[in-house]
């Protein structure tokens, strides 16, 4: 066990950060968080603003000191080490490129500070410039670059000293939609090519799911769930996680029986089926919230196959698909999502009585 933890890129142990005098009078930005990030992992801290994700990043970078707890980098304690002695580099939210230096000077800065000989610096600068496809702009001043180019320089600058861990603080938030998509692919590629552990902070759930090996969902200074994107999306443990990541239907039901991480639940509508049970939630009681993703629901023609029935209240079209809001007995509304398969494929209208089937293994019991 101790061997394994020694290999972890980052090991956050029971760490808190409190701004102000103490727990009662201050702000608890991070509340006794423990987290292990493996070497060569693309790890994302996901949560709404104020959830503590940036605080955790700044604690790892050394810009802030933890109030309690400790952080280890490849088994070494970081306590008391100033930022300039930590082998981690940061890509800042607004890039923080040095405006009085050229692109190449920005990138070589870290290597110069590490007192590498000039002969060694030049090839590294060329290499990372190539890595981010910015060779042509090496001699530009940074204020002559577009947002996407500045982003690439910021990445190159942080990668050049070969940090053991790269910290990225919402680096894509200032880019427009198309560029953001491009950079997501780019970042993933860079992580694969360099083999450096990336810790990525974002409030954008799509970004988190698209790029990460694992995601930690945070709220109010706590980590609610850690898992790979599929676990986070398909098996959310808590109501907040389910709600924060994608659209979801939450229905009332009760547990009939349970075994391990599976349970038999009966929805208030009368439907009975198998559902995932979050670990460590034995004391859920009888009444539970059951989550089902809108795309796991489908229309069926035959009332015999139907798991739910109701009438369509509202239809919204969003290009690649449709959302149907269906009012089911008991006054609850479920949203059903269908892919757009060409004009005239789905001819449902508001007011139609419809039958709905629930996909196999698509129900998940949530704790609060």
């Amino acid at each position: 066990m101790s061997d394994q933890t020694a290999k972890a890129a980052i090991d956050v142990r029971n760490t808190s950060k409190i701004y102000g005098r103490d727990r009662e009078h201050g702000v608890v930005a991070l509340d006794q968080v423990s987290l292990t990030i493996e070497d060569n992992e693309f790890f994302t801290l996901l949560g709404p603003s104020g959830c503590g994700k940036t605080t955790l990043l700044r604690l790892i970078a050394g810009f802030e000191q933890p109030t309690h707890g400790e952080i280890l980098l490849f088994g070494e304690h970081l306590e008391g080490l100033p930022p300039y002695k930590r082998p981690v580099n940061t890509v800042f939210q607004h890039y923080a490129l040095f405006p009085h230096m050229t692109v190449a000077e920005n990138i070589s800065f870290g290597l110069e500070m590490l007192e590498k000989p000039a002969a060694e610096i030049k090839p590294v600068v060329d290499e990372v410039l190539g890595l981010v496809q910015m060779e042509q702009l090496a001699d530009r001043k940074t204020d002559q670059l577009s947002g996407g180019q500045q982003q690439r320089v910021a990445l190159a600058r942080a990668l050049a000293p070969r940090p053991k861990v790269l910290l990225l603080d919402e680096p894509l938030s200032a880019l427009d939609f198309k560029l953001r998509k491009e950079m997501q692919v780019e970042l993933k590629r860079l992580q694969n090519e360099t083999g450096i552990t990336f810790i990525f902070v974002t409030h954008d759930q799509e970004e988190a799911l698209a790029m990460s090996d694992r995601v930690a969902v945070m709220r109010d200074g706590l980590i609610l769930q850690v898992g790979n994107p599929s676990e986070i999306y398909d098996r959310p443990a808590k109501r907040f996680v389910a709600d924060f990541i994608g659209d979801i239907n939450i229905l009332r039901g009760s547990v009939v029986s349970s075994q391990g991480d599976k349970a038999r639940v009966r929805l208030d509508t009368g439907y009975e089926g198998d559902a995932g049970l979050p670990t460590g939630s034995d004391d859920l009681g009888d009444a539970v919230s059951v989550a089902i993703r809108p795309e796991q629901l489908s229309f069926v023609d035959d009332a015999v196959e139907a798991d739910l029935s109701g009438s369509i209240q509202h239809i919204s079209y969003f290009g690649s698909g449709f959302d149907y809001e269906v009012l089911i007995p008991g006054g609850e509304t479920v949203t059903l999502q269908l892919q757009n398969r060409g004009a005239g494929q789905h001819d449902y209208a508001i007011g139609d009585e419809v039958h709905i089937a629930i996909g196999a293994n698509s129900m998940q019991i949530l704790s609060d």
Partner: protein
């Protein structure tokens, strides 16, 4: 980066389109600059009068340049202003760093107020206080010389140098210095490689402001300056008592020229594009 929405204001609210706006603007310009224009004009007057124009000439400039009193006064002024500028700018830079680049500490606001307070104190009070204070020191030590005048100028120049430097530092994105620290630069190298180059325009503006303020000063200099320490403003003041000649106009015009050049330089540094922000 972000475009500030200046927007197109409704003409009915925009002050520029109110009736009488341009007339008032012109009146202000005339009131402010007409006397200076007259002074400059008559510095080129060939005759001795400062009110009746005869012919264009550089006579009074040549005369002023040959006047040893003026030469000496100009030299004293430049010497005092230069030394006061250097010392006050260094001190103001340190003060600006301590009041913007350290975590908030008890007494920070008091410190800022104390630094800026000389701007609020009536100059004549500072002048009398300085005079008395220096007299005590002179009596105790027996040391005399131009050092006292330089010290007095340095003191009142500090807040003037401090203002643009502080403004520049506050304008600079703190994450630049964090980025440097993140890239393995220890504190001193962060300062030398990032903070100092980026705050340079502020330092230059502060230095020039200090230089001008020192060059222009009359009241404190009048009280503190000893024999042989007549600065240019004091010399002009002395000459005026004996009746104005165009020679004074010529010296004043040169003085004005220096000020205009320095103010232009401050403006150029102040609107430098490297705002230190992305």
């Amino acid at each position: 980066m972000a475009e500030i929405a200046t927007g197109k204001m409704d003409k009915s609210i925009d002050l520029k389109y109110q009736p009488g706006f341009s007339q008032i603007a012109w009146l202000c310009i005339v009131v402010l600059y007409a006397p200076i224009a007259v002074l400059v004009l008559f510095s080129f007057n060939q005759n001795r009068s400062v009110t009746v124009w005869t012919e264009f000439s550089f006579d009074w400039y040549i005369k002023a340049a040959q006047n040893e009193g003026i030469q000496h006064a100009a030299w004293v002024s430049l010497e005092v202003a230069f030394i006061a500028m250097v010392i006050s700018t260094i001190l103001a830079t340190m003060a600006a760093l301590v009041t913007t680049r350290t975590p908030p500490y008890r007494g920070l606001n008091v410190a800022v107020t104390v630094i800026n307070q000389p701007l609020m104190v009536p100059e004549v009070v500072t002048a009398v206080a300085t005079l008395i204070f220096f007299a005590i020191i002179k009596q105790a030590t027996g040391v005399t010389g131009i050092g006292y005048l330089i010290a007095a100028h340095t003191a009142f120049c500090i807040p003037f140098a401090y203002m643009p430097i502080r403004a520049r530092l506050e304008d600079m994105d703190l994450s630049l210095e964090q980025a440097a620290a993140d890239l393995y630069a220890p504190p001193f190298k962060v300062f030398r490689r990032v903070t100092l180059p980026l705050m340079m325009p502020g330092i230059m503006a502060g230095a020039m402001l200090a230089f001008i303020v020192s060059l222009d000063d009359v009241i404190i200099t009048l009280f503190v300056a000893g024999p042989g320490e007549t600065t240019l403003p004091l010399y002009i003041l002395g000459q005026i008592r004996r009746g104005v000649t165009p020679e004074i106009n010529a010296v004043s015009t040169l003085f004005l020229g220096i000020s205009v050049i320095l103010v232009t330089l401050i403006f150029l540094f102040g609107t430098d594009k490297n705002k230190g922000k992305q």
